[in-house]
Amino acid sequence: MASAQSGPSANPVAARLAGKRAIRSYARKLAEPEDIKDLNIVPMMDMMTIILVFLLKSFTASATLVNMDQNLSLPPSQTRLAPKQAVPVTITKRVVLVEGDAVAPITNGRIDPQLKRDGDNGYYITPLVDMLGKVARREKKVAEMSGQKFDGELTIIADRHTPYRLLTEILYSCGQAEYANFRLLVLKSRE
């Protein structure tokens, strides 16, 4: 301890030399920075993989995906209920679809009377009832095998200009295929 304190004062020349050497080596270090051979990208990869997993999860979490175009624009609503998984029935300006398969064409907001059991004034759309009947049988089987109750729920994805008459015709036909509860898919218009 004593020698360390007395060292520099004992030999001032050596101390000065040591100081100079230290300064020189520091200056050399500044002049030649260490080469960065390659970046460590492992943390970035960790982060990206986590982002990817979360994005994929949120992507699959949304129960219903709707491709909106000029023939299908949903109406706005102030509802707070979130969509639930159910068989989708889509009503665009041109066609009625069940689970994405075209069932009946629409011209000027009306179904072709030939596709209806009771003609122009009828409500029973034969191809829609047939198709939903098949879907209902499948759903019932699935419900039976998984020990749940068949709830007869449909998601109605309809264009905002669909006339009420067409809507009731479709809902009536859905009712004929044992679907009586409907979830009308809308755009949430508030926060």
Binding site: S62, T79, H161, T168, A180, L185
Partner: protein, 166 residues
């Protein structure tokens, strides 16, 4: 000299890492596409309605109160409300041509105060009424903002669709 170079090469081989750059390229691309598709997603909601069920229901004891049987009809000129007691005075459209949704909610709030337990209502509309107006009317029928605490209270959330006016 050669031995030294060999030694260096050996050392290099030992510390070599897997080339993660191609993997990162793929992951970055997937993230960009997923982000783009998430941005395009729109907030969706649902409105629950049901179609009338026939049969049953009747003859299950006498109800304490007479049923309300509230029916809201959307016509070309405005809303018409009807119940077991009769038809109420219609709510005409606003001068601008839009339906008067606040007036409908106000009227239904009055009815709700008299029939606090009632949650069912029948919806009916003219054949040509577009779906957009149907959904907005259902919104007006479902809830109302309470004056006391500005919270939303339920009006008639159990809505049954009836056939249109022919």
């Amino acid at each position: 000299m050669r031995r030294m170079r060999d030694q260096f090469e050996e050392a290099d081989e030992e510390t070599a890492e897997i080339n993660l750059v191609p993997y990162m390229d793929i992951v970055t691309n997937i993230i960009i596409f997923l982000l783009a598709s998430v941005i395009n997603q729109v907030p969706l909601g649902t409105v629950n309605v049901s179609s009338p069920t026939f049969g049953g229901g009747a003859g299950e004891g006498t109800p304490d109160k007479p049923a309300l049987n509230l029916t809201v009809t959307v016509g070309q000129t405005g809303f018409t409300l009807a119940g077991s007691g009769g038809v109420m005075s219609p709510i005409p459209k606003l001068p601008a041509g839009d339906y008067d949704y606040p007036a409908l909610t106000a009227k239904l709030t009055e009815i709700k105060k008299q029939f606090a337990d009632e949650t069912k209502a029948t919806f009916n509309a003219d054949a040509a009424v577009p779906y957009e107006i149907v959904v907005r009317t259902l919104d007006a029928m479902r809830t109302y903002p309470d004056e006391k605490d500005a919270h939303e209270r339920e009006l008639f959330p159990d809505i049954v669709f009836a056939a249109g006016i022919l």
